[in-house]
């Protein structure tokens, strides 16, 4: 909402020295937030004065142009009172005209300094200005010719041109629709300065009579009040007055024609949207009703619309002529030949307006006001003001008929305890302040002992319950008066276990050289295809969005990998030689347990109802994904670097398991998007945690990643659920360690895990640790065989082991490995 300061001052007696900055600061504190202050003349430095052209002598020039050598009376503004000699290239004026002159020493927009200079054989002392030169528009066809009554020579031209009139742009909250008018803004300004206020809607209006245009309302809920007035003999060519054009322009509206401008002007002034019909195009009585399904209307914007039974329409004998309160129809539109105007000022149901606007994707200045709630009482005043302006400037006659159908809706009274504002805001607010402030915003009060019953003014449909009144009282007291007090200390229990574990997982991964990324969780078939997921892959069953950002990515993702792989490729593309990334984020899997119910809001749903609602929400486990791509360890003076590979990926899962005290089991698996021979399925207590390993070569190619890039994706929720809760104090022996190394030859298909677990079991309780330290294949061990070398470490809790004991344990380990896996000791 844009409001010229001069227009605000028309309705409120602000102190003369109140600056625009002070005004906006006070209005912002009241809830009308300053967006911007426009100062049209702030790029001009005077002297910029009214001048009267005394003489003008056309002088043709060699270059084909004709200039005018003028003398201009600028009063005493030039210090001498003598006429000023000025060369002017424009021709749209004559001696006797009032013009705008900038004198030497002045500065025009663009830092254009004016000085007396010799040109075309004369000393030109100043310039006669065009609108464009003053930054007032694009008009450069000629200089500005002022109306004869604009002022006398030597007057400052700033007020004449409105250059000193600052315009305030406010951001209006949805509950303050009344401030979408000068009437409302001025009312707040009056409140801000406790200054006298004149309501522009307060005017004597003619009594309704039976002679007006016939109107019938079939739906008094949708349209409680309809006022119709008529102006005839109107001159469609009559221009809008300059002051109106200027104010409309300042308020951000485009001047069109007198009839249209007047309706817009009155809407800005009083806040009531007005519709004007070409009265000669109307046939028969106007009727307001809901549309029937399938009815159509071509609105003013030329769009043919299919109407809904919820839409309110205005009809005459010809059919539908307008979408009530939102937009008129083409058939009765005012035009350049309209001489009779039927003025409609109607009150519309805000909810219907909102729904119709949304349904038809129509936003208009009228719709914006109607859907937020307009004062229902000012319809007659607004219509009368339109009639006044049309007849004043368009030369028509006001038809004596005045149609008023319906009764404005009443505001319900609200009872509030006097001390509620204090109890809610923590500011010391006594009953007298409460009463005064409620009266200041226009409430009618009925005062009781401990409570006050307030009937809000008709322009405040947003005031509906006691807390609404508290806000009104508090904002006038001033939000800057709210004390700053900490609430009592809460007995919180700190972070939850899961929250602590999540931080630990993040720090572990960062410690492992991985950088966290956050990607958008949207996915589409292209990403699933790039991952090589089969058509029936469970990850392709997604929660789809009804209105995705992009039709290419219509779903909430089921895997974090696409976003992560793209981020990795982006880094590689930007020159990184290697990149290790991780992301933790929720993925979603649809559940088919019916829609989530919509309950009422007057009381809490029952536990059973709540359970039904929660059940309908998709599964959203927290996942962790890692991608390791390209150089994992750098080459340097210390030696070679190392590319990331499958073992790094599995290593990361194992590292997390160690960190969280979870035993991770690794088995081989074939699962897209991993390399089928280099993919590990990782489990905890037999439950699948996820997968890790090298990505399939085609996947690396599809995402533009270096070959052998590796990745992990696991269910972090599951891992955290299995995390060790309380770590039991470890017991360990300080007796000497006994070391035994064994090398076992097994079939190449036997897994290390199988051999290791047999050794571990066979070695018994004396085994402290076991670790594979070498893997060897080659001729010595035979084709299709491999040698696994394990370091076994033995220790007893209560004694030094003898060589015999150690050897026996080792032999038992080897024997079980041989039995289980066919291992042969080398």
């Amino acid at each position: 909402m844009k409001a010229p300061v001069s227009w605000i001052r028309e309705y409120v007696d602000l102190p003369d020295d109140a600056t625009t900055e002070d005004l906006t600061a006070r209005l912002t504190a009241l809830g009308l937030k300053l967006e911007a202050i426009e100062k049209p003349g702030d790029q001009i430095t005077g002297p910029l004065v009214v001048g009267k052209v005394l003489t003008m002598e056309p002088e043709p020039q060699k270059n084909g142009k004709t200039i005018n050598w003028c003398t201009v009376d600028v009063g005493a503004a030039n210090g001498t009172g003598e006429p000023q000699g000025i060369v002017c290239g424009a021709h749209n004026f004559k001696p006797g005209d009032l013009v705008v002159v900038i004198l030497p020493g002045g500065i025009l927009p663009g830092n254009f300094e004016i000085s007396a200079r010799k040109t075309y054989g004369h000393l030109s002392a100043g310039m006669i200005c065009s609108a464009r030169e003053l930054g007032l528009g694009e008009d450069h066809d000629g200089i500005i010719v002022l109306p004869a009554d604009a002022g006398v020579p030597g007057d400052s031209a700033f007020p004449v041109l409105g250059l000193d009139d600052e315009v305030i742009e406010f951001e209006i909250n949805p509950d303050r629709a009344y401030a979408l008018s000068l009437r409302g803004v001025a009312r707040e300004a009056a409140l801000a300065y406790d200054a006298p206020y004149r309501d522009p809607a307060e005017r004597s209006v003619p009594e309704p009579n039976g002679a007006g245009y016939p109107v019938e309302i079939d739906d008094p809920v949708g349209c409680p009040v309809f006022v119709a007035r008529k102006v005839t003999g109107f001159d469609p060519a009559a221009p809008s007055p300059d002051w109106m054009v200027r104010r409309l322009t300042q308020a951000g509206m485009r001047p069109i024609s007198l009839a249209v401008d007047v309706t817009n002007y009155v809407m800005l002034e009083i806040g009531r949207p007005i519709h004007g019909y070409d009265a000669d195009k109307l046939s028969g009585p106007i009727r307001v009703r809901r549309a029937a399904a399938g009815e159509r209307l071509t609105t003013l914007d030329g769009t043919d619309r299919v109407l809904s039974p919820e839409d309110l329409v205005v009809t005459d004998d010809s059919g539908i002529i307008g979408l009530g309160g939102v937009m008129g129809g083409e058939t009765t539109e005012m035009s350049a030949t309209t001489t009779a105007v039927l003025v409609e000022a109607a009150h519309w149901d805000a909810t219907s307006m909102f729904r119709t606007g949304r349904r038809h994707r129509l936003t208009s200045e009228a719709g914006k006001r109607n859907e937020r709630g307009v004062d229902p009482v000012v319809t007659q005043a607004a219509a009368d003001r339109v009639v006044e302006l049309l007849t004043t400037y368009g030369g028509g006659t006001a038809d004596p008929g005045v149609t008023v159908v319906g009764i404005p809706p009443q505001q319900a009274p609200i009872e509030m305890a006097y001390d509620l504002p204090e109890r809610v805001t923590g500011m010391p607010i006594d009953a007298a302040t409460t009463v005064a402030n409620l009266e200041a915003v226009g409430c009618e009060l009925d005062k009781h002992d401990t409570t006050v019953v307030a009937t809000p003014p008709p322009w405040r449909p947003d005031l509906n319950d006691p807390f609404d009144l508290v806000e009104e009282v508090a904002r006038i007291v001033g939000y800057d008066q709210v004390p700053s007090v900490l609430p009592r200390e809460a007995a919180g229990r700190g972070l939850t276990r899961e929250q602590r574990l999540r931080r630990r997982v993040g720090r572990t991964l960062a410690g492992a050289g991985c950088v966290e990324v956050i990607s958008f969780p949207f996915v589409g078939d292209a990403a699933f295809d790039a991952l090589g997921l089969p058509a029936d892959d469970v990850l392709r069953t997604t929660v789809r969005l009804a209105n995705p950002l992009s039709s290419e990515e219509p779903s909430y993702t089921t895997t974090l990998l696409p976003g992560l792989l793209k981020a990795a490729a982006r880094n590689i593309g930007r020159g990184a030689s290697g990149v290790s990334l991780f992301e933790t984020g929720t993925v979603a899997f649809p559940v088919d347990r019916g829609p989530a119910p919509i309950y009422g809001v007057d009381w809490r749903p029952t536990d059973a109802e709540l359970a039904k609602l929660l059940e309908a929400i998709p599964e959203q486990p927290l996942h962790l994904a890692v991608v390791l791509s390209g150089e994992r360890e750098r080459a340097g003076w210390w030696g070679d670097g190392r590319e990331a590979g499958w073992s790094d990926a599995i290593g990361i899962v194992r590292r997390l398991g160690t960190e969280l005290g979870v035993d991770i089991e690794v088995v081989s698996a074939a699962r897209a998007p991993w390399h089928p021979g280099r993919c590990a399925r990782v489990l905890v207590d037999g439950a699948e945690l996820g997968h890790a390993g090298e990505l399939h070569p085609k996947v690396c190619q599809a995402f533009g990643l270096p070959p052998r890039s590796a990745a992990v994706e696991i269910d972090l929720d599951l891992l955290m659920r299995r995390a060790r809760d309380v770590t039991p104090g470890p017991e360990f022996s300080t007796y000497p360690l006994a070391k035994e190394d064994v090398a076992l030859v097994v079939d190449a298909s036997v897994t290390t895990a199988a051999v290791e677990s047999a050794l571990r079991e066979g070695a018994g309780d004396l085994l402290e640790s076991i670790r594979l330290f070498d893997l060897f294949t080659g001729e010595q061990v035979g084709e299709g065989r491999k040698s696994l070398a394990f370091a076994l470490r033995f220790r007893a809790a209560d004694r030094t082991l003898t060589e015999e004991e150690t050897a026996a344990a080792r032999d038992a380990a080897v024997a079980l490995a041989a039995e289980r896996t066919g291992a042969v000791q080398r």
Partner: protein, 368 residues
């Protein structure tokens, strides 16, 4: 060794003659002094204190002396050996010190060589930023509440007094899941977590709810369809706007430094009444609006930064969530984490947060 002979005069045993003992001692001391490194000293030790050294041999002769002569000879030999051992130890210390000094010099490396074998990891500033905020509130005894991002429409809107005709519920603002009559949305704020908390817990409630939220905004330097919010909710007996102000002032000072407090401006949110916008004293110009003679860039010369929204929990919300509005009042607030980090760290483009460029993230390290 000579055989026992009780008649011998001790001076008759040549190795035990004082001049012999002195000569052996002096030879030893000379050899020790002449040793220039630990190896030579080791040789001198073997030569002069070893089993075959003159002093060792002389020592063995003592047993052959008659008892009356042993004491004197023993003293003589003992003194000589003591002097030698002392000299050895002293020389050993000197040579070791020399050796160590030389070794330390020889082992000098170029410590400016790079050490970055494994690249550094980092956590995302949005993660660590949310943790920083959580920690500030946990220190006040609050708890951190969380909820799902795909949320029931009723929890995201109705329960929060955003009625069926609220503009935010249109397809222009909210992501809906298919089919739309499943009444599931991508949460547009973290407020449904507040609703869930009130629905399942009994006051007093003091929770912050950080998390990811969604709106169908264009993606540009200052807007993102996916962003992060933190909201707070306090429900207790006697809670007022003053407690809201106190909490936000404390939050601001903890996040941006002492003296950085907040200001309220009247505003409108369906879930709070009265409602306010929260502005933060610009922590760069400290409210002056001017820095080094030019308008402050962080607050664009206003001295204040728009931070978020807040207010007293609307009693309608309390009713829908089963909180006894006669007994309890509450306050709520919310702000963008992304935005907060943008001005805290002077970020120019919001999209940097979501690009995953490691150069951006590693700049923040693993904590904020």
């Amino acid at each position: 060794m000579s055989g026992p002979n009780t008649d011998y005069d001790p001076v008759e045993v040549t190795p035990l003659k004082p001049e012999e003992v002195e000569a052996s001692r002096d030879a030893a001391l000379a050899a020790i002094a002449a040793a220039t490194d630990l190896a030579e000293l080791k040789q001198a030790r073997i030569d002069h204190t070893g089993d075959r050294s003159p002093l060792a041999l002389a020592n063995r002769e003592i047993g052959a002396l008659p008892p009356q002569a042993r004491k004197e000879a023993g003293q003589r030999i003992g003194q000589a050996r003591g002097a030698v051992n002392q000299a050895l130890a002293a020389r050993q210390a000197v040579l070791e010190a020399e050796h160590e000094e030389r070794m330390l010099v020889e082992e000098t490396v170029d410590v400016t060589l790079p050490t970055d074998r494994v690249p550094t990891g980092a956590r995302h500033p949005l993660t660590t930023g949310a943790e920083l905020i959580a920690d500030i509130f946990v220190a006040m005894g609050w708890e951190v509440a969380e909820g799902p991002v795909i949320e029931a429409e009723w929890l995201n809107f109705d329960a929060l007094n955003l009625g069926p005709d609220h503009p935010a519920r249109t397809m222009q603002d909210t992501f809906w899941t298919e089919p739309a009559d499943n009444h599931l949305v991508l949460r547009t704020h973290t407020s449904p977590v507040q609703a869930r908390t009130m629905l399942t817990r009994t006051p007093p409630i003091y929770v912050v709810c950080p998390g990811r939220v969604f709106r169908t905004d264009e993606y540009d330097a200052t807007h993102s369809p996916v962003f992060h919010q933190v909201e707070g909710l306090a429900i207790d007996e006697g809670i007022t706007m003053a407690h809201l102000k106190g909490t936000l002032d404390h939050f601001a000072a903890s996040m941006f430094g002492e003296g950085i407090n907040t200001r309220f401006r009247p505003s409108y949110f369906p879930f709070t009444e009265p409602s306010a916008e929260v502005d933060l004293v610009c922590f760069v110009c400290r409210g002056a609006g001017v820095l080094d003679g030019a308008p402050c860039r962080t607050c664009r010369g206003e001295g204040w930064i728009e931070w978020g929204g807040c207010g007293v929990v609307n009693p309608r919300v309390l009713a829908a969530c089963g909180v006894d509005a006669e007994r309890y009042t509450g306050f709520a607030f919310g702000m963008g984490i992304d935005r907060t980090l943008m001005f805290r760290h002077g970020l120019e483009d919001l999209r940097e947060l979501f690009e995953g460029d490691i150069r951006f993230t590693t700049a923040f390290g693993s904590d904020l």
